[in-house]
């Protein structure tokens, strides 16, 4: 028996569950959709989701019901739902499991959302690398059309909905909601300047909601079991469960669904079985690569939006990456920066130029060519990226750098003074490229 009740993972935890429509319906699948289509008005659905306290599971934690309510009610013309399945944040692999193992849970959530916001067209923007997920979703959509739970006149309600899968081509930035819209429109994936926001001018300049896979998967449960039930799980303004993807130097990496508010200590030492080889914990990232690093002293922070933010990081995508005592922090920061530099779209100056510059300095420090003043320079560059970019990527890329300097400045200085990496004496060779 799991320690906490599973909600999103409940079906797939059953032995032999394959996620077919038939199996999903046996567990009560699509009854929530039928219920809203027959008995509940769109406004009431939005209200219910608002009351549940459900917040976005993609990273920013924006209240879902509130987001839906921004869609203009009386405006004629199309409106859209885009399901953000471009799960690309390093360390995050929860949406993948939700899509591959129980696709109808998410599709039902999408249908309910579309009904609530009055959309008749929904897209699933799925990460390019997710071949299997895309195939499973295509199959699930076909099943759903055949069973008439999507398509024309669903459950005889007169409500029509078409869902299609749109595969990305591998760019991290397309997980940014406005870059995602550009990409669906067939353009180069680069974030739009905001305002206007997607709720008013989204896909094809029409009102659009963009929600994460896990967010939408929660919706049928809220309808079936009520907003109060959902709000009773978790703590404070962070309601419901959360799937945490634990990775790095732990004994049992994996996805764990727990109520919001469990501590990081519980996640790492109980669920993930503790640090690999029983080594000392050095640092961890609590919410995906863009979340600032934390130290062992933060282990008792509860995993909810507010508490993690108060501790100087963010809950983000819920990916916990654990680093043991043998990890070189500069190496880790360099690794993350390589990723962000590779994924910077190149649209705006601070991110385009800054990511390359920061990476070059990190390379030098790690390879033993650090110079006095480099750490100050890194801080200067990060602070001149922060808040000055088109999208949140700027904040994302500096998170690990600034936090690692903040927590481990001495280790940086050591690299520079000793002209080399204390952990990887051959760093220069291994990084040569």
């Amino acid at each position: 028996m799991p320690k906490y009740e599973l909600i999103l993972f409940k079906n797939m935890a059953q032995p032999g569950y394959k996620g077919s429509l038939e199996e999903y319906r046996e567990t009560g699948g699509y009854t929530a959709l039928e219920k809203v289509l027959k008995d509940i008005s769109p406004a009431e659905v939005i209200d219910e989701v608002k009351k549940s306290g459900l917040r976005g599971r993609g990273g920013a934690g924006f209240p879902t019901g509130l987001k839906w309510s921004f869609i203009p009610k009386d405006q004629v013309g199309p409106r859209y739902l885009c399901c953000n399945a471009d799960e690309s944040e390093p360390g995050t692999y929860k949406d993948r499991q939700l899509m591959e193992r129980d696709p109808h849970q998410m599709l039902e959530g999408m249908a309910i959302c579309c009904y609530a916001i009055g959309a008749q067209r929904a897209y699933i923007y799925i990460r390019g690398e997710f071949d299997l997920g895309a195939e499973i979703l295509e199959r699930a959509i076909d099943e759903a059309y055949k069973a008439k739970v999507i398509g024309k006149d669903i459950f005889g309600s007169g409500f029509n909905l078409d869902i299609s899968v749109h595969r990305g081509a591998g760019a991290y930035i397309c997980g940014e909601e406005t870059a995602l819209l550009e990409s669906i429109e067939g353009k180069r994936g680069k974030p739009r300047i905001k305002p206007p926001f997607p709720a008013i001018h989204g896909l094809y300049q029409e009102p659009t909601v963009i929600n994460n896979v896990e967010t939408l998967a929660n919706v049928p449960h809220i309808i079936n079991r009520g907003a109060e039930w959902f709000a009773s799980i978790g703590v404070g303004k962070s309601t419901g469960t959360r799937i945490f993807s634990v990775s790095g130097h732990v004994k049992k990496p994996g996805n764990y669904e727990v109520p919001m508010g469990v501590t990081l200590r519980e996640m790492i030492y109980e669920f993930a079985g503790g640090v690999r080889g029983d080594k000392q914990l050095k640092a961890f990232i609590p919410g995906g690569a863009s979340a600032p690093m934390m130290k062992p002293e933060h282990l008792d922070t509860p995993m909810d939006f507010e508490s993690v933010a108060a501790a100087g990081s963010m809950l983000g995508s819920g990916a916990i990456t654990v680093m043991d005592e043998d990890t070189c922090i500069v190496w880790a920061a360099t690794n993350l920066m390589e990723f962000f530099h590779h994924e910077s779209c190149g649209q705006c100056t601070p991110c385009r130029e800054g990511s390359a510059w920061v990476l070059q300095i990190l390379y030098r420090i790690e390879q033993g060519h650090g110079r006095a003043g480099d750490v100050d320079q890194l801080e200067y560059l990060c602070k001149h990226i922060e808040g000055k970019t088109v999208c949140a990527f700027g904040e994302a890329e500096i998170g690990p750098i600034l936090s690692s300097i903040n927590h481990f400045r001495a280790e940086y200085e050591q690299h520079i003074e000793e002209k080399g990496c204390p952990f990887h004496p051959n760093a220069a060779l291994s990084m040569a490229h």
Partner: protein, 867 residues
């Protein structure tokens, strides 16, 4: 609600219009905010992040280019926080920027230099290895130096948003981001040069004048382009005695600072080595370069001798429609007053006379629509073949109306609506494209007229005219019109209804009508059609006739044609002189003994054997030109004239806008401005004794000539824009409407050939511009790919075009283009070709305009052995 808001910028209250961007409001308040990606012509993109400012109540700094002003907004553009952020962005931009300013053609007018300078001395904190790109090229004319690029995407956005060409795009990501030809293809665009003009740094520069100047050495002169009737304002930039660069300042002139390939890359013709630089006199055994004194004496003696022997009517004169108003005015004065002949004509005879004559006849004015009307219209009916090629900037206005203002576009032309290159193609943008058979414009006009007459004619049209129009179309069936034009009754009705229902409709007429058979009649019928659709006589409506030559309108208005005295005063029939063709015929008959040709080359422009015989028959042929031509080879006296870049004066564009030319450089060699030559000759003809020619110059400057010309104009000149009710009722009373019966021509294995203008050339002058001849250096026959495949033709394969008769054919390489309809061919007219001799030649019954641009030809492969 007030349309203005008040905000505070750096402590100063500023009142600006709603919707103004903060960066613009700040400029009004005297605070220029550093920027790269912002440009007034483009939608904000906020990508450079240079223009960050502090706005009260907003936690983050905001990009002032994308933020609209709001009532009570408090903005700081130079606070410590702002300066720190801007310095940060500047440091990012300079990090990878090469220090190659000394060899960068942008140096001296570079926004990066200027804004970096604003922040004072700064030691670069960048101690890393700079990211480098290999230098590369966008085609033959544009150099791409991506190391200098600030990735502001102004070039890409201009190409998309303004030109609509979509030829450029972003390549790669992050710090390796670069601007590239879309999908990495070879750049195959309009080469408008807009990307070079709008680049704030030296990332995109012209290869035409690489390293030829430092920007501060350039002497800049604002003038008017010579290459078509659009009348674009351009800045001629000269280093030493040569035009080295052309630009057009954002927002200036009828063109608003936008140019086409001809305007931007076509200046090389001015300083071309082939220019005539000294007067030449024919001796029995050859040609002799002479002084101007000699030339003036010989020219005036020659003319005097002909007048004495044969009378003044034995003299004729023809002046190019690319000469200034001053030149045309003085030339017709020289001919009419000094020589005393009636025979004076201009290059406007080749088509534009149809427009001005017909519009004046019907409406009492040829000023019937402006570019503003196009921009404000909600429906455009375009009878203009390929407007992007003939009048690129007017086409730009049409594109803007369609794209930004959602105007409906109806195009009538033989082209396919497919677009395959990055060159704009109006039929591709059209809501209704009536793809007519080659040469069936009059049938298309008939179809639309019939559709309008039978449904909903406008009430404002004079009753007698309406009755005549109805009578004229009765008995002609839509079936016969469809057989001739290829357009069905339903299509005509649909297009007619669309144009009829427009709030502000503008009818644009181009060379396919003006230089097509019976162009004058077609123009009258189009004027009637516009009235029928209710699209004249109201603000924002009207007709615009496109001119090929820069001063076609002015040449007519200055009296350079037999039917009009200066100011469009109609000459009485008995005092009406010969048109160009009539002069040629008269010379053939021996009635005209002396011809004075200014910038005209009838041997080329009139594909008739009789021309050479007529010219040979003359006692005196004076040619005044820029370059040697087939005709100057026969001349007794050749006078070297100044080009548009070397003389001042005025051009009147196709809207009727009179615009000022300013001399940008000294005359090339010993060339003289046209007006100066005429002014001297006027007095030389009047004096008996020999005098130094300088003493004979009657006008101190082009300005003095202009003042005289203006004083000579009748009252009411220039005519007001729009129709005059008196003219309209007079026309209604006197109009005789007949339609040529539509007839279908069987192709019988032949191709319908059109000879016409290319975007990269204008007449022959442009072929002297190295920039343009790089883009198109030789003629080719354009053919639809399927036709080419059907005939088994490879690209660039040589084919022979031959006519119906046994005349010898013309050999040309083929190029395929999906724009060209199946069964048709297109050949550019700019290169010396005998092609036109294969085509039927007709002359307009009323206006004497020669037509010979289209006809049927047989296309055959040239076997390898034969070639």
């Amino acid at each position: 609600m007030s349309s203005e808001v008040t905000l505070k910028i750096n402590g100063r209250d500023v009142r600006v219009e709603k919707g103004t961007r903060v960066i613009e409001a700040a400029k009004l308040a005297g605070a220029e905010i550093a920027h790269f990606c912002y440009h007034p012509k483009l939608k904000p993109d906020a990508n450079c992040r240079m223009c960050l400012v502090e706005i009260e109540k907003m936690p983050k700094l905001q990009t002032s280019c994308s933020t609209e002003v709001a009532e009570g907004m408090v903005v700081e553009t130079a606070s410590e926080k702002v300066l720190d952020a801007q310095k940060g962005v500047m440091a990012f931009l300079l990090g990878n920027h090469p220090l190659d300013c000394p060899e960068c053609d942008q140096g001296g007018e570079c926004q990066l230099q200027d804004f970096a300078h604003q922040y004072g001395a700064m030691t670069s904190p960048f101690g890393e290895v700079k990211r480098t790109f290999e230098k590369s090229y966008f085609g033959p004319l544009i150099e791409k130096e991506m190391n200098r690029c600030v990735s502001c995407l102004r070039c890409v956005r201009y190409c998309d948003e303004v030109i609509g060409s979509n030829a450029l795009g972003s390549m790669n990501r992050g710090s390796m981001h670069e601007v590239g030809a879309f999908a990495r293809q070879e750049l195959d665009c309009e080469f408008c040069g807009g990307c070079i003009q709008i680049c704030p740094v030296g990332a995109l520069t012209s290869r035409l004048a690489m390293f030829d100047y430092r920007t501060w050495q350039l002497k800049k002169t604002e003038s008017i382009c010579n290459y078509c009737g659009d009348g674009c304002t351009l800045t001629l930039e000269a280093a030493k005695a040569e035009i080295t660069r052309v630009s057009s300042e954002t927002g200036t002139g009828r063109n608003g600072g936008d140019l086409c390939a001809r305007g931007f890359f076509g200046y090389g013709a001015v300083n071309h080595e082939s220019r005539l630089t000294r007067p030449v006199f024919r001796l029995a055994d050859g040609m002799l370069e002479v002084t101007w004194q000699w030339a003036f004496e010989k020219a005036s003696e020659g003319l005097k001798a002909v007048i004495e022997k044969h009378g003044p009517q034995a003299v004729g004169g023809v002046i190019s429609a690319q000469c200034t108003n001053e030149a045309v005015y003085l030339f017709q004065k020289l001919m009419r007053e000094t020589v005393g002949t009636l025979h004076v004509d201009s290059g406007a005879r080749f088509g534009y006379i149809n427009a001005v004559s017909a519009l004046t006849e019907v409406f009492g004015s040829a000023r019937m629509a402006s570019y503003e009307d196009i921009l404000a219209s909600d429906c455009l009916l375009v009878f203009a073949g390929e407007m992007t090629e003939t009048n690129p900037i007017t086409a730009l206005k049409v594109k803007e109306a369609v794209r930004k203002n959602k105007a409906k576009l109806i195009t009538v032309s033989p082209y396919n609506s497919r677009r395959e290159t990055y060159i704009s193609h109006l039929p591709h943008l059209a809501h209704r494209h009536l793809q007519i058979a080659v040469g069936s414009e009059s049938s298309a006009i008939l179809g639309l007229t019939k559709a309008l007459l039978e449904t909903d004619p406008a009430s404002a049209i004079p009753r007698p005219l309406l009755e005549k129009m109805k009578a004229a179309v009765s008995g002609i069936s839509f079936e016969s019109i469809e057989a001739a034009s290829g357009i069905s009754e339903a299509q005509f009705r649909e297009a007619a209804a669309l144009f009829r229902s427009a709030q502000r409709g503008v009818l644009i007429v181009g060379r396919s009508v003006l230089r097509g058979e019976a162009g004058y009649q077609s123009m009258l019928r189009l004027a009637e059609l516009a009235m029928l659709a209710g699209q004249v006589g109201r603000p924002g409506c009207g007709m615009l006739a496109l001119a090929k030559e820069s001063n076609a309108f002015g040449a007519i208005e200055m009296g350079g044609v037999p039917e009009f005295l200066p100011g469009l005063q109609v000459t009485v029939p008995e005092a009406r002189g010969h048109t160009l063709l009539e002069m040629i015929d008269a010379a053939g008959r021996g009635e005209i003994k002396a011809l004075y040709l200014v910038g005209e080359n009838p041997l080329r422009s009139i594909p008739q054997k009789k021309v050479e015989a007529a010219l040979q028959n003359l006692e005196l042929l004076i040619c005044q030109d820029l370059y040697p031509t087939e005709t100057t080879d026969l001349a007794d006296i050749i006078l070297p004239a100044c080009s548009y870049a070397e003389q001042s004066g005025h051009f009147t564009n196709q809207e009727g806008e009179i615009q000022k030319l300013r001399a940008a450089i000294d005359p090339v060699g010993n060339a003289k401005p046209d007006w100066e030559i005429f002014s001297t000759l006027i007095h030389a003809l009047k004096t008996k004794e020999k005098r130094p020619y300088q003493e004979l110059l009657g006008h101190a400057s082009a300005d003095v000539v202009w003042k005289e010309a203006v004083m000579a104009m009748p009252q009411g000149w220039p005519t007001q824009k729009g129709a005059s009710p008196e003219a309209l009722s007079a026309y209604a009373a006197g109009a005789q409407i007949t339609w040529p019966l539509p007839k279908k021509v069987e192709a019988a294995g032949r191709f319908a050939l059109q000879v016409g203008q290319s975007l990269f050339h204008a007449g022959r002058m442009s072929t002297y511009a190295s920039g343009l001849s790089t883009l198109m250096g030789a003629p080719a026959v354009l053919i639809h790919p399927e036709d080419a495949e059907h005939l088994g033709l490879d690209p660039d394969e040589l084919v022979q075009l031959s006519g119906d008769s046994e005349k010898e054919g013309v050999r040309l390489p083929v190029k395929t283009s999906k724009k060209i309809a199946e069964g048709t061919l297109f050949v550019p007219e700019h290169f010396a070709l005998t092609l036109k001799t294969l085509l039927p030649f007709t002359v307009d019954e009323t206006t004497g305009v020669p037509y010979g641009d289209r006809g049927w030809v047989v296309l055959s492969k040239v076997s390898v052995a034969a070639s």
